[in-house]
Every structure is written in structure tokens, then in C-alpha cells.
Symmetry: C2
Subunit: 316 residues, 2 copies
């Protein structure tokens, strides 16, 4: 810790004086004072990211700041909510102003883009770890849940799964730029898509644990359903197609986490916009069946991760 730089000064310098819609009192008192919008319901989520577990220890502080907010915004997107307010708890090994300035640059760049206001939190001395709690608002009765999928519903994506997992492997191999690394370092929460899905999607989740695992959560929460997926329909990109073997690409797409894309189901009567891709259908029969480009059923599906063993964040 720099001599003469104490926590109060650091907090004041980096986190105070911020205001936004519905903020009656921001950081600086025992709590923030906020004005909810009449007629709206609240959506709340919280995730902790640990250094070396949820992100590489050598990830730049600006990317850590971006990421710690992005994973929470993605949860708000998956519920169809408008971002409103967030709180940040930072555990830092030392009071490093340069690191903090860089962290804030990434954090607040995304906060401003998403229209969310930091209203409080705390800073403690300890192993590098970041917890963000985010609150959003959604019109009454319009929240997107995991539990509404029905047999016959189309299973959809509007983005390329697997790029983040591939990007992490690129990072670990020493790459520091490129589309895949960017996909890992700067996940883009699909907030606009979430808003658009209100009243359309029967179920929605964000892919943080891997596509199969998260689809499994939707099917379980929707009453124990199953699904058929077609690999040939899976969105890909030039960057992902140019990376690794076909088996590695498939594993990244089906089981790689950290995508923070929305996975959603829509009733079959609905015509999909061109940028949404149907990758399969919900079925009444339990289990997820994946067929390859030749129509052959895959027998050896990559597993979803056990988050506790892996250390990923997951919702209580």
C-alpha cells in the first residue's frame, strides 16, 4: 500500500460522485438510496470472480473490470431487464492506484454503454476478487424465465458460442489479440436482445456454463423436457473455424463456458429474424440429443462443468 493513500481516499477518488436515473443518494452513506420506477419489477443478480479461477491472473485490470460487470449484465439480459444500479466489492492485495484506474476504465466503459450506475460497495485488503451485484427493472409480468420452454419450441442463439472458450485457450497459449481473445476478454451482454425477447421467448438463459449445461438448466426448470440439436445449424465464425481441430471446436461450442450469449426458446409459430439461428427443438423426451452434419447421433457429448470444482460462478 502506498504511504499516505488510504482506503477512504481511494474510494473517494475512484467511486464517488457518480449519479444516474433513480439515484437519490449514491456511494458515501451507510447505503444507497434509490427510486424504483412505478409499475416495474426488480431483477437482482450477484457474481464473484476470483483471480486465477474465473480469469487468468495476467488479464489486464481493464478487462477484469469490464468482465466483472459483464457477467452480471448478461444475467439481467437473460431476464429481459433494463440495467439500473450496481454495487461493487473489491478485494485487493494492495491499494494500487494504477491498477484501480485501469480497472475503473473497463468497468465504467461498460457501465456507461449499458446505462447502469454504481451506487455503492466496499473495498477490502485480500486476495484479488471482485463481486458485483446488479439490479435491473422489467415491466410487470414480462421477465424472461428459464421455466417456460414447451415441446416443439425452437432453440435459438443470436451469436457464436465457443469463441470465448477458444479465446481463453488462445490467451493461455500466449496470444494477446484477435477476435477470439477479444470474445473472451470483453464479453458483450446481449441487453438489447433480452429486451426484444420479452413476450416472444418462452424461456431464456445466458450461456455461462456451456451450451449443453445451460440448455439442461432450461429443460430441467421447464418440467423435465429434452431437446434435439443439429450441429450443422450451430453459428460459427471465421475465427472459430480457423482455430483448433473439429473436435476442439465442437467441445468449445457445446461445453465451453464464458460466452454470455443468450440461449432462448420461441414457440414454433414465430418467424425468426435473420440474425437469430435455430439450432434445434425442445422435445418431450428427456435428454439432449445432438446430431452431426451427416445426421448421425453423437454418442460422446462433452460434459458441462461442475462449477464448484472448476470454480466458476453459478447462481444460488
Amino acid at each position: 500500500m502506498d504511504a499516505g493513500v488510504n482506503e477512504f481516499e481511494l474510494i473517494r477518488r475512484f467511486f464517488r460522485g457518480r449519479t444516474g436515473p433513480g439515484v437519490l443518494l449514491g456511494p458515501g452513506d451507510d447505503g444507497a438510496l434509490l427510486l424504483p420506477t412505478p409499475g416495474m419489477q426488480l431483477v437482482m443478480t450477484m457474481d464473484t470472480l476470483l483471480s486465477g479461477r474465473h480469469f487468468p491472473e495476467d488479464l489486464p485490470a481493464a478487462d477484469i473490470g469490464w468482465r466483472s460487470l459483464a457477467v452480471n449484465l448478461s444475467d439481467l439480459a437473460a431476464m429481459g431487464a433494463e440495467p439500473r444500479w450496481c454495487l461493487l466489492s473489491l478485494s485487493l492485495p494492495q491499494a494500487d492506484e494504477t491498477w484501480l484506474a485501469s480497472f475503473c476504465k473497463g468497468f465504467f466503459a461498460l457501465a456507461e454503454q449499458a446505462g447502469i450506475t454504481l451506487v455503492g460497495g466496499d473495498m477490502v485488503r485480500g486476495p484479488l476478487s471482485i463481486t458485483v451485484q446488479a439490479t435491473g427493472e422489467v415491466p410487470a409480468g414480462k421477465a424472461l424465465l428459464r421455466s417456460g420452454a414447451r415441446p416443439g419450441d425452437r432453440i435459438c442463439l443470436a451469436g457464436v458460442p465457443g469463441e470465448a472458450a477458444a479465446g481463453l485457450q488462445c490467451w493461455q497459449a500466449g496470444e494477446r489479440s484477435g477476435a477470439l481473445v477479444d470474445a473472451f476478454c470483453r464479453p458483450q451482454p446481449q441487453l438489447q436482445l433480452g429486451r426484444r425477447l420479452r413476450g416472444l421467448a418462452s424461456a431464456c438463459i445466458d450461456i455461462s456454463d456451456g451450451l449443453l449445461a445451460d440448455l439442461g438448466h432450461v429443460l430441467a426448470e421447464s418440467g423435465g423436457l429434452g431437446a434435439g440439436l443439429q450441429l450443422a445449424r450451430m453459428p460459427t465464425s471465421a475465427a472459430l473455424a480457423g482455430w483448433g481441430s473439429a473436435a476442439q471446436q465442437r467441445a468449445a461450442q457445446l461445453a465451453g463456458g464464458d460466452d454470455y450469449l443468450l440461449l432462448f426458446t420461441v414457440p414454433p409459430v414465430f418467424n425468426l429474424p435473420s440474425q437469430w439461428r435455430e439450432i434445434g427443438r425442445v422435445e418431450a423426451r428427456k435428454g439432449i440429443r445432438v446430431t452431426d452434419a451427416d445426421g448421425q447421433l453423437l454418442t460422446d457429448l462433452p460434459h458441462g462443468w461442475d462449477h464448484f470444482a472448476r470454480g466458476d460462478s453459478s447462481h444460488a
Copy 2:
């Protein structure tokens, strides 16, 4: 980690299926869905507790559970808010069911007493650390702030400061029971007092950093005021009076943290109920002046802590 016990099972077993007022959807989706009360404003706070820093490493898990919620409820009390919903992020070195069951016993005992509902959060593998975010509601315009103290206001307490700091020293010396140890292990957030102070107190804060430091925050936020305190008026208890030297008692009362008592100011026209104790007055002249029982000004005041150096939680 026990074989066969994964995070999802643990989360389901300990944290799901909870519901309460205003909870449309609790743990289990991407976020909780909540119904704010019309006409109320929201109060939000978040604190992280690290093992070995904010509590002794050998503190029983039930006390850690109680404490991690108590420090946040105390913030809601200091704003005059009714507790509503909380989120919990647990970082645990391993998935220990016995520890979790004990943690939950303490956490939910206080949650039920205070009327707050756990609505989400996450669990990750890492050094023992607990972050709780709590939301309360307060009638519009009635929140207690730090910033409203005026010269001449009475500075009041309704409890004994210093017991928690003395209790921590008892714990560190090997004591495991008694009034002081209990005061440290099971802080009682003064929620009822906070509600009563609405419309009466000109300013309010909870003593987490030590009385002088927290009074200093009130005086600074109220426009740079000062205060005169009289040690002879300081509430004490048989337990505290029987502990340590007079100097140690004084240091615990003036600078010991962790009390989680409300420190509040009320205009002089107001008659104090018998259980509230006036310990001094707000003054226009900056600085805090403390006089002893003989009316002598103390020249060597114990310092408040720099939280970052000490590692205590503090609000951004």
C-alpha cells in the same frame, strides 16, 4: 470436496425454496424477480468479510453466517430501512456440507428475526470470504442520512460501544463465552431503533469503524462540523467495566470497531427516551473534543482505523 457433492446439489440443498414478501422468483434463475412496495424507496448496501481479517479464522461457521448478514442489516438500520431481500456470495475452500449447514443456521436465524429473504447469489471455490448484498425499503423522504447534523444537536447512542472490540480481544485470548464474546460474535443490528429514528434523528450512522471515526464521517458529511463528547456520559456495562484497564476500556469505546450500534444526532428540542444516552453535542468548530470525568480535555485520542490497512469493510 466430497465425491459426488457438486455445487448445484449444495446450492439446491441449502439455499433454494426460500420465499418471502415481495419475492416473485427466488434463487434458481439468472436473477431474482422482486416486487418493490409502491411509495417506498430502496436502500442498498454490500459488505465483504474475509476470514482472518474481518473475523478470526476459528470463529464458528454459525457466527460467521450471522455476522455476514448482521453487518449489512446494521447499514439498513442506520438508514431507517425495513429489511427486504439479500444476496449471498460464498467463496469456500471446499464444499463442506457440515460447515455450510452451520453457516446457514446462523445466517437464517438472523434473516428470520429481521424479516429478510435470501433471493440469490453464488458459490465459488476459493479462500473463505463472504459477500452479502442487502436491500431494504424506506418510506419516501424518510431515510436517515449522515449529512443532516447541526450545531447543538445531541449525539446519542442506545447501547454500549466497545463491547465488541473487547470481545474480540477476549476471543483472541482464548475465551469462548461471556457477554463480551457474545457482543463480538453476534452483533444485534438495531433495526427497530432505526425505524423509530425516522423523522427524529438529524443524522445517523452505524459504528463499524469505531465511534470517533464514524462520528467523524457524520460531521464531515454534515458540512465540516465538530463535536464535544463527555466520557462520563458514555454508556458502559458490568462486563466492559470488569475488563482491561481504564485506558483499554476507553480505547475500545472510542476507537474499537465492530459494534454495529447506531450513533445518531437529534435536535436539542427533542426529549430523549430513557434508553437513549446523550454522549455529547455537535459543535460548529471542527474537530472532536473529548473530556474526561474531571472535565479535562483528552489530548491523546485513540485513532480510527484505516480500513484498507486493517482490512475492514467500508463503504464506497
